[in-house]
Point group: C2
Chain length 324, copies 2
Amino acid sequence: MLSINTLHQTFELYLKENKIVKNPQTLYNPFNYIMSIGGKRMRPLLTLLACQLFDENIKQALPAALSVEVFHNFSLVHDDIMDEALLRRGHITVHEKYGLNSAILSGDAMLIYSYDMLQQTPNKSIIGEMVNILGKVAIKVCEGQQYDIDFESGSNISLDAYLKMIEMKTAVLLAGSLELGALAGGASFEDRKHLSEFGRLTGLAFQIQDDYLDTFGDPSKFGKRIGGDIAQNKKTCLYIKALELADTETKTQLLSLYNTSGNEEHKIKTVTMIFRRLAIPDFIKHLRNDYQQKAYQQLELVNAPAEAKALIKNLAASLLVREL
Amino acid sequence: MLSINTLHQTFELYLKENKIVKNPQTLYNPFNYIMSIGGKRMRPLLTLLACQLFDENIKQALPAALSVEVFHNFSLVHDDIMDEALLRRGHITVHEKYGLNSAILSGDAMLIYSYDMLQQTPNKSIIGEMVNILGKVAIKVCEGQQYDIDFESGSNISLDAYLKMIEMKTAVLLAGSLELGALAGGASFEDRKHLSEFGRLTGLAFQIQDDYLDTFGDPSKFGKRIGGDIAQNKKTCLYIKALELADTETKTQLLSLYNTSGNEEHKIKTVTMIFRRLAIPDFIKHLRNDYQQKAYQQLELVNAPAEAKALIKNLAASLLVREL
């Protein structure tokens, strides 16, 4: 069984070997740039770990691992344009570095390559199904991104709609990464579905946690400034749930706070107080823990060696902090 | 055998039946808008005509026909952003109508759907090869678009490089449309390659003709203003060949004319005169005719009924005017 570290190194080597050295460089430089600035490689690791549950020879899963990483980076390049983001992983974004047109076009090329890379899977008989899985995931990711954009300017978003959005935008790609790896490893249909569900539920738990920590995280551990989402009027699950629970007066107060750009410190403090008064932290903690628990239950159901499953659980646990 | 008109109607009906009625509408409205404003449906018609050469039941080719049309429209949506185009087929462009973000994202969705639609092919055993063909075409189209962008700001472009660019940007999709149709119809490998070559050469002949007609076309027949490319300093094959043939003095004059924005009428007249003096019209006419003739030779080699081949030749002839 290969450790997470070994799998990570194996993936980085495969990525390097499959770097696109081709003209026009104006198309492939942005492509190689975004792929080279790293990230945690969470999705390809999930693909390789899922394969390893059923087959220790992970070669069948390497093309799919590269595919999901390239797809993920395509979505980052185009999302960063839409969000007018200046930085990604501490580096200048593709559209800021190479211009809008190159960012659009190299993103397109990455999306196309994410399909093309699946063709390198040694077992040709499963490529068709892999393409199908990637396609279903890809459509949902686009739809999720559109819902996210729509929600920013919309009102009266329900918590269910918000959870559906983060599921599509983030969780389905984690689910797909695991499903592709399981398929490459020769898993049964049932085990593929359990792993896919594990990925979906873990993704939801992680995104909910992300919202929680932005307001209620430990400042000494949380990488970003506490309260950033509130300062930016971001419609997180905390805010949406608070609007659902608030009485008319509190609702008016919240809406007004999210509509004005006044003293930020005061705003963060007031909104946090409202959240606490409505018992939002407890609700959100329970929501995350519930998804996390259900995710682990799905992993339990997978028919594979316990020590290989433990590696996947460890990787998920590195995303999901123990105590909220 | 189905006529071009019947095939056109069959395609429009299939397109209507497969219209995406789904949320979020903000994603699918731009998608359906660009698909609905028409165009000549040249690529899906080539797919259906190529299928019909080998199998009169064109059902196997309808998903691929839709796929190439959706792919083509994806490329238009993203190209129009890059060109800052206001109009497409006489209608307002997607990014002008729906905004930049929706144009990027709905373009992405169209690219994904162009793969997904192939999955509807009744003969499941050929879907893998179809995905492969679409992928190879798609990468070349992106590369061609990047070369086009690069050429606009570059100097010293050779005619060969220009021809390679238009081949990738335009001709390979015509080639792929025919190859997908032939595959759906059960053609031999050789016939698929002949048809693909026919498409590639026809695409080149058409693009070269397009450059020619913009300067030397009959004003009463040519839809656009004569000399528009010269007025916009477009590096057409006429201009590139002229720079290759010109002596130092004429070259300096041409470069200077393409670098200044003076009297447009005078500029168009002077450049056209230089082109004539260098015998560019004859050279370009021969170049186009040569590609056209080679294209028809490839079609001749296809082992299929003459009357079915005549339909494809007719469609190509509707693109390629008899006399330049």
